[in-house]
Each structure stands twice: as structure tokens, then as C-alpha cells.
């Protein structure tokens, strides 16, 4: 595997694929994509490097934007803010990052490392720490690996910069950084604890940028050729159709800063007569077919528009939509006993065992 330059077409596809890997959450990549179109128009280019190309003692920056989606719709994401969070970490630690990577490949955070990379002239590592979207800091592969959770930099475009120097656990990092973010106005660009090349090779989830691009490209090509986009996704990514149907009920509420609820889908075609209920907490967490759990986190549950093949989010799903629910394979790190403590059904309050769709 060698490094390659990402084309704008790759990034357009990444936005579509990352939204699907967002498993219902992660926020729309639209504004990040607009930033990248602007940067590419100005001549910036971003290189994608395989994790194996890192030296063990290289330093890698892991980035994400945190905060309320509502605020992100008014304070539009600016590529320079995430670049500043990375530069601040370099100043603070006195190291130079070899490359930049995503914390979360699902949703809008898939584009954040590209924006920082374009400004700083570094490559993006083809990897992330979730393989999808998850709501909290301890729901990552590096947290499962008990890697060091600190320090963390947070930046607000008005020149507000803070560093969380030390915390005893990932859960404490979640609590403290969330407080800073709220004080900024509920949005902050963050650079997470720096990772060594060795750590990225051992604990990051590899190839996820390439995976998101492949999924997005499959959907876009199917759309332009009027082929079945769901079939196109499954031709590039091993997965399984769980259910086809029509949304018949959505119950949504905001509690403790999370969007929680259920969406009910009545089956059509092969699933006529059956009902699928999807529970969500920002992302799709459990799928119940006629009362029986048939898929749970960490398996990726993706809800797709049956015609367009694009992701349907937990914030936007509504009565009458024709959807296809698919499951994609989870990163291996999350299916271990330790991994399931972080992101298995019990981590979301469900007293059920994880039974893999792909046994």
C-alpha cells in the first residue's frame, strides 16, 4: 500500500459514504465538503497514507469537531479552526505531527482531518478510532486499548484555546472537554491525545477512509446509472440486508444531551407482514424484528433511502420513507469482551447479549 493524492471526486464520495457509516448520527458532512471544494479550488490537495507507512515513533494527530449540531448550522465549520487545534497541540507538546487522522469516520467528522491536512500540508492516515459514529469519548478503539486519554486541545474561532492537561480516564475526558465545549457556545474543534505510529498500527481501525470512499462511490455510480444503490454498496462492502420497508412511526426525544427514540418500519417485499423497530441514541443501536433483537452495536446498523441509497439519519427519519436497513461488519476491536464493555448493547443500557449478525 502506498500513499495517494485524494481527488475532489474521492472527497465527494467520502461525504456520501461517511454519512452511511455514521449509522444514523455523526452529523451531515455537507459543510465540511463545501470547505474542501473551496480548498481544492484554491489549489490545496490532500494525500491519503496507509497506517503501515508510519514509523513507530511518528506522532499522529487525531481530530474531531464536538458540540451541538444546531450550533454547527449557524457557526459554519471553518477549515482553519481544526487546523489551529492541531497546531496548538504541536506547540504544547513540542512535537511535529507526521500525519493527521479522524477520530470518527462516520458523519461530518470524516472531513475534519482533511481540512486540517490541507492547511498544514500533512497527509491523512487511512484510519479512524470508531469505524463509524459513536456519541462518547470512551467509545473508541484507543479507549478499549486503554491508551493514554490526554492531553486534548480545544479551539474556538474567536481565539479561545484550552488544553486539558491530564485526566485519569476517558470518561473524565468526556466530562471535562464537554464542559469547555458548552462554555465556548456548544461547539469546539479538538485535537485528541497524540498517538504514536506504533499505537495507530496496533489500535486504530485501518482503511476506513478508503472504505467510506468506496461505499460513497458505489452509491453515486448506481444513482447515475439508475441501478440499485443498496446492491451496489453490498458489492463493495461485506454486509447483509436486514429489512426492507416503510417507516410507520417515529418517536424522538432529547434527554441528557442525546437524541433518543424509536423508529418502526413495516416490511415490504420479502419482509411483508413483519415489523422492525430501531432503537437509537444519536446512532442506531438495536434492531428488533417482531420483538427479537436481530442486530446490536457494535455491528453497524445503517438505514438507507431505498431509492437513492443515501443514509437516513436519526434526526431526519420520518413517516412514509421507504428504507432498507443493512448491517455492516464491526471493527474486530469492538467484538472482544473488553470492546463490548465500551460499545456493546449493555454500554447503552440494554440487558441483552451481543449476537453478531456475521457469526
Amino acid at each position: 500500500m502506498t500513499s495517494r493524492e485524494l481527488s475532489l471526486d474521492d472527497i465527494e464520495a467520502l461525504a456520501v459514504g461517511a454519512w452511511i457509516l455514521g449509522t444514523g448520527g455523526g452529523g451531515s458532512p455537507y459543510l465540511g465538503l463545501l470547505n474542501m471544494r473551496g480548498l481544492y479550488a484554491k489549489g490545496h490537495r490532500v494525500e491519503l497514507m496507509p497506517p503501515e507507512a508510519l514509523q513507530d515513533d511518528d506522532w499522529v494527530a487525531a481530530v474531531s469537531n464536538m458540540g451541538a449540531p444546531l450550533v454547527g448550522q449557524e457557526r459554519l465549520t471553518d477549515s482553519r479552526t481544526i487546523a489551529r487545534a492541531v497546531a496548538l497541540m504541536e506547540e504544547h507538546r513540542g512535537v511535529a505531527f507526521r500525519a493527521i487522522m479522524a477520530l470518527e469516520i462516520g458523519g461530518g467528522n470524516s472531513i475534519q482531518p482533511l481540512m486540517a491536512a490541507a492547511h498544514l500540508g500533512r497527509p491523512v492516515v487511512d484510519a479512524d478510532m470508531m469505524g463509524r459514529a459513536y456519541p462518547e469519548a470512551q467509545m473508541t478503539s484507543v479507549a478499549v486499548g486503554d491508551l493514554r486519554p490526554y492531553p486534548l486541545t480545544t479551539v474556538d474561532c474567536r481565539g479561545l484555546e484550552s488544553i486539558v492537561e491530564k485526566v485519569p480516564s476517558w470518561k473524565w475526558m468526556e466530562r471535562v472537554s464537554r464542559k469547555i465545549c458548552v462554555e465556548y457556545g456548544s461547539i469546539a474543534s479538538t485535537c485528541k491525545a497524540p498517538r504514536t505510529g506504533r499505537e495507530v498500527k496496533d489500535w486504530a481501525i485501518h482503511g476506513t477512509t478508503t472504505k467510506a470512499i468506496a461505499i460513497g462511490r458505489a452509491v453515486r455510480e448506481a444513482q447515475s446509472q439508475h441501478r440499485d444503490p443498496v446492491e451496489a454498496i453490498l458489492s463493495v462492502e461485506p454486509g447483509k440486508v436486514l429489512f426492507r420497508g416503510k417507516v410507520v412511526d417515529v418517536d424522538r426525544r432529547t434527554t441528557e444531551g442525546f437524541l433518543r427514540g424509536k423508529a418502526a418500519i413495516a416490511g415490504i417485499d420479502h419482509d411483508r407482514g413483519a415489523k422492525l423497530v430501531l432503537d437509537f441514541q444519536n446512532e442506531w443501536i438495536v434492531a428488533w424484528r417482531d420483538g427479537e433483537p436481530i442486530a446490536t452495536s457494535p455491528d453497524l446498523i445503517c438505514v438507507l433511502d431505498s431509492v437513492a441509497g443515501e443514509a437516513v439519519g436519526t434526526e431526519t427519519i420520518r413517516y412514509g420513507q421507504r428504507v432498507t436497513v443493512i448491517a455492516l461488519r464491526p471493527p474486530a476491536v469492538f467484538t472482544s469482551a473488553k470492546g463490548l464493555l465500551h460499545v456493546g448493547p449493555r454500554a447503552f443500557g440494554y440487558d441483552i447479549e451481543y449476537r453478531p449478525v456475521f457469526a
Partner: protein
């Protein structure tokens, strides 16, 4: 109360006279390229029925697709100066950044970005940089741009920075047309700003169009005030409507839905309006169309403002029909139905030909479609049924069966029995429901702002009074005003018991 309602559609301009709530006369005239002569034609045809001159007319209400067509066709648009308040945020995504290039080339005059704006909790994001704003206004003036759109971060929660900016611009550029995004939109800076930019681009056209409409009314011998119908099913006095032309973008479909509700006496239903080329499906609640809560693209521009939640698909009286396999639409002969349809001696098999052969429609020459057997007609009508069923279901928000109101010239295509529908209702004058909807429209006034330093009751009373003043300014009779919506949200972070209050009231058009 005697009113004339006019709906200018893509093919026909419909006009009705309503007297004491009843349709006295209804006519159709072809829509003209300049819109106005078609309106004059329709008014003359209406006069020719003999009922108009019997007594004075209280008001003329016009619904038009003229403004949305201008955006779609990139015609008659003004250059706009965009002012975005909100630096240092959002600078990498300036105004016009997600517009189609061809439209941006026509509309983009100049872009200015200045420090200022608010946070989601009402706190100030950055103080407004007034000195920089004055310099920005002067640069816009020096470029000769005479229409300005102003947007600011979280202005739907606190519009004070946009208002101050508007005052500065008015001082520096006398006679400038000014649109504030807070008057249009919801949360979502880019989409709200886009709506404001489109509105500003239509400022010249709105002025000349309204003046031409008023001239047409005078030329037809009427002396009645002009109102323009809005996306939400209300009207605004012409002078006010020309400030916010984007609010009339979807008034045609809205008028059909309102007219259908009025003519049937049913206030909660799904309305299916089958035209010559397309069918619009929407839902009415309490007689008003349900609003879209999602991004609506206009001429390729993403916007988010008060628009009805509509679904359009390619089915109409002029839709092309092929038989093996059966397909209907989306291509249509449109207004050429009466020359190109088989029943009229033409060669294009249309949905109307099927309707004529099946005895659902009595126009043209039925013998010319006699070769279409029952089985053929049934196969096509079954196909149409499933198209209608699927789209009605997509518009519904819950699973229960609904009442369906079928209107428009192609309403014969809607079958009497449909899955998910309890009853299909057809009404007299259903083919001019759009003009009826215009004629019966009321006037609304809306307030959506943050009130401070007063109790909840006092704040709501103040908001209701402000909404009533705005309704009166738009032409409402104060005696008839009722509040139809009140919503208040406390804002935790602000001192002084701050709350955001949204009030909407509605009343009859005042008679002179």
C-alpha cells in the same frame, strides 16, 4: 364581501369572483409571457360574464409563479450585495458559496463579512463592528449595487445586529432595497441567508411586477386594492408583499389546497391537485397547508423558510401514455393537449385520451379513442392509481386513513377508492380551486423575537400586540384578528427573564 381571486399558473390564468362566500363566476385565460396581459385577459373574460360590474369589488388577490420562475430561469434578477455578520466564524464559507455558478454569476454583486452575531442561548457571539459595517456599506454603494441581503449568526433568536446593520445601510445607500434574513428564516445560516439573497435578487422585479398588476386592474376598469398571496395561504397588501417576494414562491399550490378546503368545507385532508403536467400532493390542517420542515431547493439553491410541504410528481391530463409496458408521464403535451391528444386528432396518447375512452372525461371526440379497449384503459388507470396511492402515502404523517380532496383539471384521474384513503371528495369548481384559494385568503401577522425584562404574561401580550400591528399593516381588519399560534421558549443564559416568543395571528382583509 366581493373579491376576485386570480391564480397565474404555467399554462392557465384562472380567475374567480367570490360573493358572500360563493363562487359567482369562474374563467380561464392562457398565461402570457409577460404575465400581466394574461391577467388583464382573465379580468376581461370575468367582466364579460356580467356579474362583476353589478357592485364594487372589495379586493383583487393574485397568486403568481412569476417570482419563482424568474429564479429558475435566471431572468430579471438584480445584483445583490451580501452582508454576513458573524466574523470570525464561518469565513471559509462566504455567501453564495453553495450556489449554482450560473445563478451566482447573475446575482452576486459583492460580499462583505463583518464581526458580530449571537449565540444559541442569546449571548452575544461578537460585538457588532459598527465602524467596519459603515465602510462595508460604502463599498457596496461605490460598486453601484442597490439591493442588499443581511444575515447574522442566530438572528432568528436575536435580530438586533441585522436591524442595526439595515439602519446603517439605509443611511449610506439611500433608496437601497434591504432584506434581513431574520424576516425570512429559521436556524441554518446558509439556507436562511440563501433565502435572503434570493429575495434581494427579486427586489426590482417585485416592484415592477406589482406596479404592472395594479395597472392591469385599473385597465380592466376595476378600482380595488391588490393583494398578493403567500406560501402559507394568506395574503399581504401589495406594497408589503413586494418587500418579501420569496414568500409568494409556492403560492399556486398553497392556493389550490386552501381552495379545496374551502369548497369542500373539510379542514383536515390530503389534497391532490392534478394539473396538465404535474400533480401536487400536500396536507391541510385546520384549513392551512402543513409547512415543510426541511431544506427546499429553489432554482438549485438550498433554502429553509416558510414553504408548504409538497410533493410533486409527473402525472397530469397531458401525460404521455405508453401501453407495452404501461407507463404514464413524466413527459406531457401540456397545453398542446387540444391539438396533439388522440381525441383531438393528434398522435400523442395522453392520460386524457384514456379518461375520454373510459368515460371519465367529456371533451374531444370520443370516437377517435374508441379503439382503446376496456382492458387497456383499466391497465393504465390501475397504474395511475398506484402512482397516486404511493405519493399520498408519502405525504401522510401517520398511518390512519385520510380524507382526500381531488382538484385540478386532471382530477378525473384520481380513482374513487384508494388504499389508505377513507373517502375521495370532489367539489364544484374544483378545476379553479387555486383561484378560489386566492380569493378567500386572509391576512396574517407574525412575531418571532426575544423579549426581556418582563413577566411571561406581559411578554406574550406584547408579542400579540406586535403581531396584530403587523397584520393590520399588511391589510387586516383588526376587529377580526385571532391568534392562531403562540409558542414561548425561556432562554436560560440571558439575564432579565428573557424568552423567545413566536405569535401568529390572522384576520379578514379589511374593507375600505
Amino acid at each position: 364581501m366581493r373579491r376576485i381571486g386570480i391564480d397565474v399558473g404555467g399554462t392557465n390564468t384562472d380567475a374567480v369572483l367570490i360573493e358572500e362566500g360563493r363562487v359567482r363566476a369562474a374563467v380561464k385565460a392562457p398565461t402570457s409571457l409577460d404575465v400581466t396581459s394574461g391577467i388583464l385577459d382573465a379580468l376581461r373574460r370575468l367582466s364579460a360574464t356580467g356579474v362583476v360590474g353589478a357592485a364594487p369589488v372589495d379586493a383583487v388577490m393574485i397568486g403568481t409563479t412569476h417570482f419563482i420562475n424568474a429564479v429558475v430561469q435566471r431572468r430579471w434578477l438584480s445584483k445583490v450585495g451580501a452582508i454576513r455578520i458573524g466574523l470570525p466564524a464561518s469565513a471559509s464559507l462566504p455567501p453564495f458559496c453553495d450556489w449554482p455558478q450560473d445563478l451566482a454569476r447573475v446575482v452576486e454583486g459583492t460580499v462583505e463579512m463583518v464581526e458580530g452575531g449571537h449565540d444559541y442561548d442569546g449571548r452575544i457571539f461578537m460585538p457588532l463592528d459598527r465602524a467596519a459595517m459603515r465602510e462595508a456599506a460604502r463599498r457596496i454603494r461605490d460598486k453601484g449595487v442597490r439591493s442588499v441581503a443581511i444575515s447574522s449568526i442566530f438572528s432568528p433568536l436575536d435580530s438586533s445586529h441585522e436591524r442595526e446593520t439595515a439602519a446603517i445601510v439605509a443611511e449610506e445607500i439611500p433608496g437601497c432595497a434591504i432584506t434581513c434574513s431574520a424576516d425570512l428564516g429559521r436556524i441554518g445560516l446558509l439556507e436562511r441567508e440563501n433565502a435572503a439573497l434570493l429575495n434581494a435578487a427579486l427586489s426590482d422585479l417585485a416592484g415592477t411586477t406589482v406596479a404592472a398588476f395594479e395597472q392591469a386592474i385599473m385597465d380592466s376598469g376595476l378600482s380595488a386594492p391588490l393583494y398578493i398571496t403567500q406560501n402559507d395561504g394568506t395574503v399581504a397588501a401589495a406594497s408589503q408583499a413586494m418587500q418579501l417576494p420569496v414568500y409568494s414562491f409556492a403560492s399556486g399550490a398553497t392556493n389550490s389546497m386552501r381552495g379545496a378546503a374551502y369548497l369542500s368545507g373539510i379542514a383536515d385532508a390530503v389534497v391532490v391537485d392534478v394539473g396538465g403536467t404535474t400533480t401536487d400532493v400536500g396536507q391541510i390542517r385546520n384549513g392551512f397547508p402543513r409547512e415543510a420542515n426541511a431544506i427546499v431547493k429553489v432554482g438549485g439553491v438550498r433554502t429553509l423558510f416558510r414553504m408548504p410541504d409538497l410533493l410533486s410528481f409527473g402525472l397530469g391530463g397531458g401525460s404521455h401514455v405508453s401501453l407495452d409496458p404501461v407507463t404514464v408521464g413524466p413527459l406531457s403535451v401540456g397545453y398542446r393537449l387540444i391539438s396533439d391528444g388522440v381525441a383531438f386528432g393528434g398522435r400523442e396518447l395522453t392520460a386524457s385520451d384514456i379518461g375520454i375512452a373510459a368515460g371519465l372525461l367529456d371533451i374531444g371526440d370520443r370516437t377517435k379513442v374508441g379503439h382503446l379497449g376496456d382492458a387497456t384503459c383499466q391497465a393504465v388507470l390501475d397504474h395511475v392509481r398506484s402512482m397516486v396511492e404511493e405519493n399520498v402515502d408519502r405525504v401522510k404523517t401517520e398511518a390512519a386513513d385520510v380524507t382526500l380532496l381531488a382538484v385540478g383539471g386532471g382530477a378525473f384521474l384520481v380513482p374513487d377508492r384508494l388504499e389508505g384513503v377513507s373517502e375521495v371528495v370532489r367539489v364544484a369548481h374544483g378545476d379553479c380551486a387555486n383561484a378560489v384559494g386566492a380569493a378567500i385568503a386572509q391576512v396574517s401577522g407574525e412575531v418571532d423575537q426575544v423579549f426581556r425584562d418582563m413577566g411571561r404574561e406581559a411578554a406574550i401580550t406584547a408579542a400579540q400586540e406586535l403581531a396584530a400591528q403587523r397584520a393590520a399593516a399588511a391589510g387586516a381588519d383588526r376587529e377580526t384578528l385571532t391568534v392562531i399560534e403562540t409558542e414561548d421558549i425561556p432562554i436560560a443564559y440571558l439575564p432579565g427573564n428573557a424568552r423567545r416568543i413566536r405569535v401568529r395571528c390572522i384576520g379578514d382583509v379589511s374593507s375600505r
